[in-house]
């Protein structure tokens, strides 16, 4: 269990990043520096988002149905030293596992999105998180994966006004079937103070 108040005091020392994408949208905004992007290799959508995020310079962690390797070899060891910011696109179970571990180590979920097929083949995106991040996704283009990848790397720092949105994009790929994917950002509480509940 991390000393949460120490984390809060240390907020100013956390790294920030301003990517070219961010600068194009908000010249002065500082964003959370993602140290890892976790994506489920079994789905085309999560794979595509991972590829985009990787091109933005974020280290990738591909996962499938058991997070034990990621946890045991990587995150547990790193999180023992310090909390870190990470994002991902996974199934619900992986998201739950990582959120639960994160809560024990001074981190929490600051953005979550549920991406599932609707009846007519389109994809419904239920989003909750910092208002500035959600705004980046409106309107959501047909190539929603790249838009989401960009937005996930643009999470603003500090205490945030939370917004919710339900967007629909056309042209669903079939790999989602009836299993929603979840996009999420987990951040140190000191870096982004506003938690989003499931």
């Amino acid at each position: 269990m991390t000393n949460r108040r120490d984390l809060l005091r240390g907020a100013a020392a956390l790294p920030v990043v301003a990517t070219p994408f961010a600068r194009a949208l908000a010249a002065t905004r500082e964003s959370l520096k993602l140290e890892r992007f976790v994506f489920d290799v079994r789905f085309a959508e999560s794979g595509a988002i991972g590829e985009h995020v990787g091109r933005l310079g974020v280290a990738l962690s591909p996962v499938a149905d058991d997070l034990m390797t990621l946890w045991y070899d990587d995150l547990d060891l790193k999180w023992r030293k310090a909390p870190m910011a990470l994002a991902g696109v996974t199934l619900e179970d992986a998201f739950f596992v990582l959120e639960t571990f994160a809560l024990d180590r001074g981190m929490h979920v600051v953005y979550r999105g549920e991406h599932g097929l609707v009846e007519d083949g389109r994809i419904r995106h239920r989003l909750a998180g910092p208002a500035a991040l959600i705004e980046l996704l409106k309107p959501l283009p047909a190539e929603w994966e790249s838009a989401l990848a960009n937005a996930l790397t643009e999470c603003p720092l500090g205490a945030q006004v939370t917004a919710r949105a339900e967007l629909v994009s056309p042209g669903a790929a079939l790999s989602l079937r009836d299993m929603p994917l979840y996009s999420w950002i987990i951040a140190p509480r000191a870096a982004v103070a506003t938690r989003v509940e499931s």
């Binding site: 034990m68 179970d93 299993m179």
Partner: protein, 552 residues
């Protein structure tokens, strides 16, 4: 949302919080909503409802002395405490307390592995040590022992044992409370007690002879509320050199009786590890004729259709630990024994592997026959993959649950017992109009405890109605199931707080004398009732009027 412990004024609570802060440090006393979020049950049936079981505060002690100080303060202000180890008891309430407004004593910081002896085969740990932590310690130090891990491995050894959790290797080690070797407990008055040989200050054998001398109170702490366990020992299985598995199938429904007899014999001679039962007939449930026969428990029709499909009725996967030669000898003997008892039994060699298995061998799901075994847990290797059950996933496409409760009933450890329980559970589900998730006629027991069978009560709840009202309706149905099961002699072994009174009600022999006896003890040692009131249906006098409160 500010919540107070029941019967405690805001002023008193503020004073208590200050005393907690003085005792353990301000930064380890949590009262904000954000801080307390992680102490809610993610799968609660009453999430966001006025009676949701959430704490008023949480405290994170680092030492036994700090736990003592917390207990003394709680006594002073008559504040109920609820101790958690790592708080991962999901499906059974997670970290949530029995009484809304309790102060959660979060023991995660007490995460020291005090001893791990691979010559005498035991460990002594604090409550914050998870199975993953102990596994990492064993690997890092190249120790020649295994940890018997539950699914998943993020929970605490002590927490899991305290809730009578289980594992998947050899019989003795699978019963995690049964494999304990003594404990250190902070009693409700703040004193520290050690059990077994730990009661002798100069003892050299605390972890080797848990009985000590005289009455052993340890059972009071398992699913109990008689103290806060701050250290506990566990017997560890010596790492075997070799692992082997094999499949046994038998043709007819009634063959389950001699099959289980044979496997019980092998298990109780400690010749094999956990047996995994199943039915090869599951694929036939898509066949209308077979399904009708199965739903009606028409045994002759099921046997006939199984025969015409070329399938056997039952299977058990056996696994053997030891040397290459002993595992082979045990497997050969198992085949000989079953063949003697069951005409037409078939045997398929599984794999024969030198241990420790490599990661690739553990991840390998191919083999001589399709297997249900999750290999990591048979090898004492913790995992996290079981969470596929709680999300709508590739392996679990139709059973998305935002709520999740584990209910397993004790049934007789015999083929007759299984066949009877199948029918009984089907009758209960039919009477209560609860669609069963399992085809009852093919349901098989789990042999997690070496000497007992558990069988799941899997119900689709509320017709998918996940509204608050739908969840309440579903919970009420579950209560009816527990009552009906009890009438038939099936008691549950574990439950989340919202159902613990109902499970406790199942154990009603002689006008609930067991509960009356336990509560008499509770009142004597915890007169203020501060340690986890209501846990497992044991309510101390100051809180006794809350019994059954979750039903309304």
């Amino acid at each position: 949302m500010a919540i107070l412990p029941p019967g405690v004024s805001a002023e008193s609570f503020a004073s208590a919080v200050r005393e907690f802060q003085d005792a353990i440090g301000r930064e380890w006393v949590f009262t904000s909503d954000d801080d307390l979020y992680s102490y809610r049950d993610h799968f609660s049936y009453i999430k966001d409802q006025p009676n949701e079981l959430i704490p008023s505060a949480a405290v994170g002690p680092d030492t036994t002395e700090q736990v003592q100080a917390i207990v003394r303060t709680a006594n002073k202000y008559k504040i109920p405490l609820y101790a958690i180890s790592t708080g991962k008891n999901f499906a059974y309430g997670g970290p949530s307390p029995n009484v809304r407004g309790s102060v959660t004593v979060d023991l995660k910081r007490m995460n020291r592995i005090l001893v791990c002896d691979d010559k005498r085969h035991f460990a002594l740990v604090e409550p914050g040590v998870s199975y993953i932590d102990l596994y990492r310690h064993i690997q890092a130090n190249k120790l020649n022992v295994w940890v018997d891990t539950p699914d998943p491995g993020w929970g605490s050894l002590i927490g899991n044992a305290m809730d009578h959790g289980i594992g998947y290797t050899m019989g003795y080690y699978r019963d995690h409370f049964g494999a304990h070797t003594g404990m250190e407990v902070v009693l409700p008055n703040g004193e520290v007690m050690r059990t077994g040989m730990g009661a002798m200050p100069a003892s050299q054998s605390w972890q080797e002879y848990r009985h000590g001398y005289g009455p052993d109170p340890c059972g009071l702490f398992g699913q109990g509320n008689f103290g806060i366990v701050t250290k506990m020992g566990f017997r560890l299985m010596p790492a075997p050199e070799h692992w082997r598995n094999g499949l046994v199938t038998v043709p007819k429904r009634q063959d389950l009786i001699p099959l289980i007899e044979a496997v019980n014999y092998l298990c109780d001679l400690s010749m094999c590890g956990e047996p995994w039962y199943g039915s090869p007939l599951m694929p036939l449930m898509g066949n209308t004729e077979f399904r009708e026969a199965a739903l009606g428990f028409n045994e002759s029709a099921m046997d006939a259709q199984a025969a015409s499909a070329g399938l056997h009725s039952w299977q058990v996967e056996l696994q053997f630990y030891g040397s290459e030669r002993t595992t082979l000898a045990n497997w050969e003997y198992a085949q000989e024994l079953v063949a003697r008892k069951v005409p037409g039994a078939r045997f398929t060699n599984g794999e024969s592997l030198k241990t420790p298995l490599t990661r690739e061998q553990i991840a390998n799901t191919t083999g001589p026959y399709p297997t249900n075994m999750r290999r990591n847990i048979t090898q004492g290797v913790p995992g996290l993959g079981i969470w596929y059950m709680t999300g709508r996933t590739e392996r679990n496409p139709n059973a998305w649950n935002e709520t999740h409760i584990g209910l397993f009933s004790l049934i007789a450890r015999s083929g007759e017992g299984v066949l009877k329980a199948q029918k009984d559970f089907a009758d209960v589900a039919r009477r209560l109009e609860m669609p069963s998730l399992f085809p009852n006629a093919l349901q098989t027991p789990v042999n997690w405890y070496q000497f007992a069978f558990l069988m799941g009560n899997g119900f689709g709840l509320g017709g998918g109605d996940t509204s608050p009202a739908g969840k309440l309706k579903a919970t009420a149905k579950l209560r009816e199931v527990l009552q009906e099961n009890a009438k038939l002699g099936y008691g549950d072994y574990r439950a989340p707080p919202i159902l613990q009174d109902d499970v406790a009600d199942q154990y009603s022999f002689n006008d609930f004398v067991l509960r009356r006896f336990t509560e008499q003890l509770k009142d004597a040692v915890d007169p203020n009732g501060i340690i986890s009131p209501g846990r497992a249906g044991v309510w101390p006098a100051p809180f006794r009027s809350m019994r059954g409160g979750m039903r309304s």
